[in-house]
């Protein structure tokens, strides 16, 4: 964008045109949606008018239902992810630095990573029931793999020169790991978190849909079962906000932590 035009006037036409170009399609679709809904060209159950959905969303938010269910989903997903992050980074970094650990975990990761983790939901229902604990453990097990693999690979790729330089200056093994290897591997480790984050939400939603127990996934499926499609749509709006919020949050953390890159 042109810098001079920005300084010349507060009202910037070219920027407005750019904005218009990028959102016009969304506006068209949303207006069409509203019209189709208002004139019931498609049955109300399938596609309620947008205004009804937004009203329902506000209603559920004000009554606290939406916030409570969003809290349940976030709590399960993030606690699970945090557990997986600790174990994943530990196993990943140690695998890269220690042959014995690598020998043990390499075949397990090779077999465990490709398992469609969602298929284990019935197993976790059997083992740990359908409560919060079961969901949290499931998220932790599911997100462990991408975290561990990214931590391992990025630690392996730490430049040997850095390690040698630090060793030459008399850095002990333990400090080497904390001060040299870990920071150098951090970008890759955070990439692992970024891959694991949507996965943690996926696992939580599906588990909530299959087993119930509150949460946005349960709220959505409840809407379908009770023929209140506005509730399903409203819950998906909340899912969208959460997805965008977490995505932005991780990017922010990444740029803060990795300001030197």
């Amino acid at each position: 964008m042109d810098v001079t035009s920005e300084t010349q006037s507060g009202f910037d036409l070219s920027r407005l045109v750019e904005l218009g170009k990028s959102v016009y399609s969304l506006v068209i679709v949303l207006v069409l949606w509203e019209l189709v809904g208002q004139f019931e060209l498609i049955h109300y159950y399938f596609l309620p008018p947008l205004s009804d959905i937004i009203l329902r969303f506000i209603e559920l938010t004000l009554s606290g239902d939406m916030l409570y269910n969003a809290y349940l989903t976030l709590y399960r997903a993030l606690v699970g992810l945090a557990i997986a992050s600790v174990f994943g980074v530990l196993v990943g970094v140690l695998s890269a630095r220690n042959d014995l650990v690598d020998w043990f975990f390499d075949p397990i990761i090779k077999i465990g990573y490709p398992v469609p983790i969602i298929s284990l939901i019935p197993v976790f229902m059997l083992w740990f029931g359908i409560g919060d604990i079961s969901k949290i453990i499931m998220v932790a097990v599911g997100t462990f793999w991408p975290v561990a693999v990214n931590a391992r690979d990025s630690t392996q790729q730490v430049q040997q020169n850095l390690v040698w330089a630090a060793q030459m200056m008399g850095t002990s093994d333990r400090r080497l790991l904390r001060r040299v290897v870990f920071p150098a591997a951090l970008p890759g480790i955070i990439t692992g978190f970024q891959i694991a984050m949507p996965l943690s939400l996926i696992i939580t939603f599906v588990f909530e849909m299959v087993a119930g127990g509150g949460g946005l996934g349960a709220l959505e499926i409840q809407g379908v079962r009770s023929f209140q499609s506005t509730q399903t749509y409203a819950a998906i709006i909340a899912v969208m906000f959460i997805g965008i919020g977490l995505d932005r949050g991780l990017r922010l953390i990444r740029s803060r932590l990795l300001h030197w890159t």
Binding site: K21, S22, V23, Y24, S25, L26, V29, Y45, F46, D99, L100, D102, W103, F104, F105, D106, P107, I108, I111, P114, V115, P116, I117, I118, S119, L120, I121, P122, V123, M125, L126, W127, P198, L201, I202, F205, V206, M209, V210, L216, G217, E220, I221, G223, V224, S229, T232, Y233, A235, I236, V239, M240, G243, I244, L246, D247
Partner: protein, 263 residues
């Protein structure tokens, strides 16, 4: 550890070397399986954690009787159609957005809005529209796989080596054959990368849809086996879908290496 043993392995005669290395590499998995077998029925009740022997005998039974195949074929059909559609539309959309500004202006906002939504959260919406069954599963697989393919195709088409385009233009290539003959072939490696990312996602999406909204398919089989308490059968089906996913990823990587001979 590894270095010490690999030296000892190198002392062995050549044909035995590979086998010995393979066995050594996979010992940890053997340990896990043996532990599982020992724990089952002693520390943990056999009904909660069926021993590997029970699971594998059921696995053989499922395969020999052919019981699993009707469900497996339905699952594979859903994946094939969903993934196929997402490749077709994803490549068109990705290249279209990269080569044409109006197309990009139109679709960009939808992609950036749907990007952070976990696609399995849309399963209830799919049930709303399409009911319980194959269409819902296909839609979810399609949506889940679409974005990685669009993004890779888009980036690749944006980064097509400009000298290639100039060279073709100089030789009088018109706009349309430019797309077929220059841009599309140049993006194939990245498209393959997108598909490689999409294959495991497809399996997660498939199983999610089948657990929630299906009365056929492997996901359904896993859920119902658990519900009626036939746990060896549940584990056997999980092993089957995992093996299929594993083979699909490896198989695709093999195909990619064959196709991309020029890179």
């Amino acid at each position: 550890m590894r270095h010490a043993t690999s030296q000892r392995i190198e002392a062995l005669p050549a044909p035995v070397q590979g086998i010995a290395q393979t066995i050594l590499d996979w010992i940890p998995l053997g340990i896990v399986v043996v532990l599982w077998e020992l724990v089952s029925g002693t520390v943990v009740a056999e009904s909660i954690l069926p021993p590997p022997t029970a699971v594998s005998s059921l696995l053989v039974e499922l395969v020999v009787t052919g019981e699993v195949f009707s469900h497996l074929f339905i699952s594979l059909f859903r994946i094939a159609v969903g993934l196929g559609l997402s490749i077709l539309i994803g490549v068109l959309l990705g290249i279209g957005m990269a080569r044409s500004d109006p197309v990009e202006d139109f679709f960009d906002i939808f992609l950036s809005m749907t990007y952070p939504i976990p696609k399995t959260a849309l399963v209830p919406l799919a049930i709303l529209w399409l009911g319980v069954g194959t269409e819902t599963a296909i839609l979810i697989v399609f949506l889940a796989c679409l974005l990685p393919i669009v993004l890779n195709a888009y980036n690749a088409a944006n980064d097509v080596n400009q000298s290639l385009v100039w060279a073709a233009q100089m030789m009088g290539t018109d706009e349309r054959s430019m797309l077929y003959k220059v841009v599309f072939p140049a993006t194939i490696p990245e498209i393959m990368t997108g598909v490689r990312q999409a294959v495991p996602i497809a399996f997660v999406a498939l199983v999610s849809a089948e657990l929630i909204a299906s009365n056929q398919g492997i996901g359904y089989l896993i859920l119902t086996s658990g519900q009626i308490g036939n746990y060896p059968r549940m584990f056997a089906n999980i092993v089957i879908i995992s093996a299929v996913a594993f083979v699909a990823v490896r198989g695709f990587e093999e195909v990619r290496n064959r196709v991309l001979v020029w890179t």
